[in-house]
């Protein structure tokens, strides 16, 4: 196995993060938590740099076809690193006297590296490597606040269920290997030869189930609410954005590349996951009182909507997915920046009813909240509308109009709890607890920019769709 320069070229962003991550680790080991702020800011800067590198990194395969950098992976990496960078920025403000750990930004860098490897995978081995790197980092991140009961519980649950899903995934991979005789995507596709044996399908089901855990598609989502609520909020933001983007991109790649010839088979599983996720996500969110738990169900629902695009099994579907995920990431970053801004007398509050009277106390924040949650509900002309529109259109074009109908109905149901938040913020009487503390400038920047992006998305929607479409053309 000769690594030559072209191998190095295709993994430039990952290399940058891996090496610099170690450097930060050493820095932290010597300086300790005193340099938390600087280390975290550096980590954020590194991720933005990695995003920039990802845009210009040369395309092509490497490492004996274990790894590929193509238009699709570039699009996904930009979103992953961008989301990771913003999450790291939010982590800066999250530190307090009782909680300040330099391992947090370093682990975020490694998690992002793992995600980045996932979206470039060309072999089931690479897939597993990427998943484990990102997951193991994520488990620790979720449990970072060891002194907090809820955080420890969340980390433990995440780890155990994650291990279970890894078992399922590995079993699926071994079945696929057994029935096709290869682990590389090329070999698997050749091994299938257009006809699916029953053993292969069982393997496929296990494989998809394992991946569904990562994107928290129902019924493999049970960890999500507990982890979202228990983890430190910047970590939740990371899990809800970068993690989801990476895992979802992997789902797309695995479905569209090795298993492209048996679309009819995997489509059934994806449709089931999509329907259950959309319904479960929409309904279970209604009675949540904790806003982070609500966001967990919201992202379950969003994954269901995005899966509709995968179910279409077409380039248009993938394009829709990518646009959906990109806007989803921006909306979630904005939402979590808003949640992080919910602080009274230095203590974070997480109850939805704490938002009452927000418009009277902090109008700019309330307006950002209005835009973000209207966009989540898919109200035109905000960004959230276009993602939904594209995936549903793709589904209709593929003949699954009834799936689009289910999507529309659940989308209406989900509008209930998004708009309820807006209603509480704008029309409910403020509580006696007083107004929120003035938010940190970086948080204001995040939710402000997010709102502006969602508001102005209609102006550059053509550009984003073209880019996503060019990325999706990899699977032509």
């Amino acid at each position: 196995m000769n690594s030559n320069f072209s191998d190095i070229a295709v993994i430039l962003p990952e290399l940058l993060l891996a090496v610099m991550g170690m450097a930060l680790l050493i820095w932290g080991a010597f300086r300790g938590n005193r340099d938390f702020h600087v280390i975290t800011l550096t980590a954020a800067a590194l991720m933005f740099a990695a995003a920039a590198v990802a845009i210009v990194s040369p395309t092509g395969g490497g490492f004996n076809n274990l790894f590929v950098n193509d238009a699709f992976s570039r699009f996904c990496k930009v979103v992953i690193f961008g989301a990771g960078g913003v999450s790291a920025l939010m982590a800066v403000t999250f530190s307090s006297d009782t909680f300040r750990r330099f391992e947090m930004p370093v682990l975020m860098i490694y998690a992002a590296t793992g995600l980045s490897i996932m979206v470039s995978a060309q072999d089931l081995m690479t897939v597993y490597l990427g998943i484990e790197l990102s997951s193991l980092s994520a488990y620790v991140l979720a449990a970072m606040r060891r002194d907090n009961l809820r955080a420890s519980e969340a980390g433990l649950k995440y780890f155990i269920l994650g291990a279970l899903s890894s078992v399922i995934l590995l079993y699926g991979m071994s079945l696929v290997y057994g029935y096709t005789g290869g682990t590389s995507f090329e070999a698997v596709a050749a091994g299938i030869g257009g006809d699916a044996s029953f053993g292969l399908i069982i393997g496929l089901v296990f494989l998809i189930a394992g991946l569904a855990f990562k994107i928290s598609a129902a019924p493999f989502h049970m960890w999500t609410p507990d982890v979202y609520q228990g983890a430190p909020t910047p970590i939740t933001a990371f899990l809800a954005t970068a993690s989801k983007m990476g895992a979802f991109a992997l789902v797309i790649r695995v479905m569209m590349e090795p298993f492209a010839d048996i679309t009819a088979e995997w489509r059934q599983i994806v449709i089931l996951l999509a329907i259950v996720s959309m319904v479960w996500g929409s309904l279970a969110a209604m009675w949540q009182t904790n806003i982070k738990r609500m966001m967990a169900y919201s992202s379950i629902g969003h994954m269901g909507f995005a899966l509709v695009g995968v179910a279409a099994g077409s380039e248009a579907g993938v394009t829709g997915c990518l646009v959906y995920l990109a806007t989803y990431v921006v909306m979630n970053l904005g939402a979590f920046a808003l949640i992080l801004s919910m602080k009274r007398a230095g203590r974070p509050v997480e109850s939805i009813t704490d938002l009452a009277g927000l418009s009277r106390n902090r109008l700019p924040m309330a307006l950002a909240l209005l835009v973000v949650f209207f966009s989540m509900a898919g109200i035109p002309p905000l960004a959230g509308f276009f993602g939904k529109f594209l995936v549903f259109t793709a589904a209709v074009e593929a003949g699954f109009w009834w799936l689009a109908v289910i999507g529309l109905v659940t989308s209406v149901l989900s509008a209930f709890y998004y708009i309820r938040i807006i209603k509480i913020a704008f029309f409910d009487e403020p509580t006696d607890d007083g107004e929120f503390d003035a938010a940190d400038v970086s948080l204001r920047a995040v939710y402000g920019l997010s709102a502006v992006f969602l508001l102005l998305f209609i102006a550059f929607v053509r550009f984003v769709v073209d880019w996503a479409s060019a990325s999706a053309s990899v699977f032509a």
Partner: protein, 688 residues
């Protein structure tokens, strides 16, 4: 973007003022709101006058100012554009001048109101919509303006929304207009089907197509009807819209109630401009209406009926504004029967003169109401002419113009007199000269109405200003002339009410074959760039010849009627105040019939309002409430709530439950594949 700046400024200045004033509202301040809206309006009025001189007097060719494409779908295209021709220019002057005066007048009249910026914004918004209407170059934009003025009218009638009667009147105006608009919209669809276009200008425009249609070159009919039937249906539907907007007989019931709005609104919208939109529309589409003689007969009859019906009701009303409102209704009837006999020029002429003297009357009445501390009942007025001398003079000028006082044959064939004299006589001459059954009916109805008009005008003046006062002592003692900001601008209207007729008569009523030589013989539908109208309305030159040749008695009779009407009212209300009561008692049934407005409200209430209300209540309670809501939204919402609780309860927090759900899901999917040849399997693998 910067060409045709004047035309664009005229139309869009009021819109800009309305937007700024409307949204800034209280932050702008009352004085700034008044200055902004009035200033832009006056500027628009000056520009309009300039435009009128260019187009109407200097005979600049008609032209279209394109703005942008509204929508284009297949063969169907509609643009935003400003069509500038003589008809538009006349309307622009009327609308902007009256609107400017009303804007300024409102500063005084509404001085005590709490929502001055809102009021001014509505006024400007209305003016914008009306300007959109008169400059429209296609039926769709016309409809936009049509609905826009309807909306502003609704807002302004209900301006004092805390008064239930104002809300009711606003809704009534909107709903009755809806009946007409329904017909109008169908008429537009029909015109499009018939001609394949909604545009006015151009070779393929509705008007040009209509000009080239005759018995030899008919268009294909629509919906399986022959062309003759089709054009009757289309124009009748279009006229239905005009009946609603211009408060013609059967659809007139909203206009008197609209007097609930502030008086400046009544002057601007419900006298001078919006209600004349129907007349404008018929004139604009005159080439189309000319193709349907039957509909023109109908227009004539409706106009004549309105003229006489409204005048009879006007005799018996005691609310000063309602008298003028019925008078407006009646005068609109004149305009319509003029159009019905083919004298569109006379109709628009009367529209113009009427705008001046009717706005003057309304604003004068507003001044009286202002002086009398918002008393509108003429039974509680009287004897105040010394206290409000300027207003008194204005009311006389307005009334004399309305009654059509003037001396025929003095200083030329048109005679010499107040503005209304020229236009009303032109209309009556045209009706007589038409020599048709409907024309004669209209003529005699018009003559009768002329008598009634003079009578109720006199009655209004004498009851309000003369005799022993019937006001309470406090009100009477404090009666005072209105401030300069109110009575000052009325000078312009007063000048218009005196002079507009004489000055404009040669322009509006030019034509006939004399002076055009042989070439003029077939000019009925010709366009001639060198004339005032320049083809913007159809000119019936034969009719004008006949009008010029009318017998002397036709010209003298209206004056006789007017003078005797005024004289009789002077006897009744000035000299023998007890006579009217005696007469009312003697002819009690007729008096009640007139006073109750021919029982239209009661009949409509019984025929339409109540049945529709109870039907609506049935649909609401039985249909919507107990079926759709119960099983639809409420049912779904209830089910969602139950399911949501169920799903939430699945989240127990126990890790083995979570693991169980995952494994169970996995097993379920595999089971589906194992036994998945059934319905679900087929559905999921379906598609293409």
């Amino acid at each position: 973007m910067f060409d045709f700046l004047i035309e664009k400024a005229i139309v869009f200045l009021p819109l800009i003022a309305a937007i700024i004033t409307g949204f800034a509202d209280k932050r702008l301040g009352d004085r700034n709101a008044q200055l902004l809206t009035s200033g832009t309006m006056v500027l628009a009025a000056l520009l309009s006058v300039w435009l009128f001189v260019q187009v109407g007097l200097n005979h600049k060719d008609a032209y279209v100012v394109p703005l942008f494409t509204w929508f284009a779908s297949g063969d169907f295209a509609a643009s935003w554009a400003l069509r500038i021709d003589t008809l538009t220019a006349v309307m622009l002057v009327v609308v902007t001048v009256v609107s400017s005066i009303v804007h300024i007048y409102s500063a005084g009249y509404m001085a005590d109101d709490k929502s001055i910026p809102r009021f001014q914004a509505y006024l400007s918004l209305f003016t914008f919509a009306m300007l959109m209407l008169v400059t429209a170059d296609n039926l769709i934009q016309l409809f936009f303006g049509w609905e826009g003025v309807g909306l502003s009218s609704y807002l302004l009638i209900g301006f004092w929304y805390h008064k239930p009667s104002a809300n009711a009147a606003a809704m009534k105006a909107f709903i009755v207009n809806r009946v007409g608009d329904f017909g109008f919209a169908l008429g537009i669809f029909g015109a499009f089907l018939l001609t394949g276009s909604v545009a006015f200008s151009g070779e393929t425009g509705v008007l040009e197509i209509a000009r080239h249609v005759d018995a030899d070159n008919p268009l294909p009919g629509i919906l399986g009807m022959s062309f003759d039937t089709s054009i009757i249906v289309v124009t009748a539907l279009l006229f239905m819209g005009a009946m609603g907007k211009s408060a013609q007989f059967l659809l007139h019931t909203w206009l008197p109630d609209a007097m609930e709005g502030p008086t400046p609104v009544s002057a601007l919208i419900h006298a001078a401009t919006m209600v004349t939109a129907g007349v404008f529309m018929v004139a604009r589409l005159s080439p189309l209406f000319e193709l349907a003689p039957l509909v023109l007969d109908f227009v004539t009859v409706i106009g004549a009926l309105t003229a006489i019906f409204a005048a009879t009701v006007g005799l018996t009303q005691f609310d000063i504004k309602r008298v003028i409102a019925y008078s407006t209704c009646s005068q609109l009837g004149y305009m319509f029967f003029a159009a019905g006999v083919g004298a569109y020029d006379a109709a628009v002429f009367h529209l113009m003169t009427h705008a001046f003297f009717k706005a003057l009357l309304f604003l004068g009445a507003g001044s009286v109401i202002h002086a009398m501390h918002h008393e509108q009942d003429m039974r509680k007025m009287g004897g105040i002419w010394r206290k409000v001398p300027v207003t008194y003079a204005y009311m006389w000028i307005g009334s004399l113009a309305l009654a059509g006082i003037g001396i025929p044959f003095l200083f030329g064939p048109a005679g010499f007199g107040f503005a209304g004299f020229y236009s009303k006589d032109a209309i009556l001459e045209a009706a007589h000269a038409a020599h048709t059954l409907t024309g004669n009916f209209a003529f005699w109805a018009g003559i009768t109405a002329a008598f009634l008009t003079a009578f109720y005008s006199g009655r209004l003046i004498f009851l309000t200003f003369h005799g022993e006062t019937r006001a309470d002592k406090h009100t009477f003692d404090h009666a005072h002339e209105s401030p300069l900001v109110m009575v000052g601008p009325l000078v312009i209207l007063a000048i218009g009410a005196v002079l507009a007729g004489g000055v404009a008569y040669p322009w509006f009523m030019e034509g006939g074959h004399h002076g055009y030589g042989d070439a003029g013989k077939h000019m009925k539908q010709a366009t001639d760039g060198a004339t005032f109208w320049a083809g913007s309305v159809v000119k019936d030159h034969d009719l004008i010849d006949k009008m010029h040749a009318s017998a002397a008695w036709v010209k003298i009779l209206p004056l006789v009627m007017a003078v005797s009407g005024l004289g009789l009212s002077a006897i009744f209300y000035l000299l023998m105040p007890n006579v009217p009561k005696q007469i009312a008692k003697t002819f009690a049934p007729i008096d009640i019939f007139f006073r109750r407005k021919w029982f239209f409200d009661e009949i409509y209430d019984f025929l339409f309002v109540r049945p529709i209300q109870s039907f609506g209540r049935f649909l609401w309670k039985a249909g919507d409430g107990s079926i759709i809501d119960r099983f639809g939204p409420n049912g779904v919402a209830g089910a969602s709530q139950l399911l949501a609780r169920f799903f939430s309860s699945m989240q127990t927090g126990y890790i083995y439950h979570y693991g169980f759900v995952m494994v169970a899901g996995l097993v379920a999917i595999i089971t589906l594949f194992l036994f998945g040849s059934g319905f679900a399997g087929q559905l999921l693998s379906g598609g293409n």
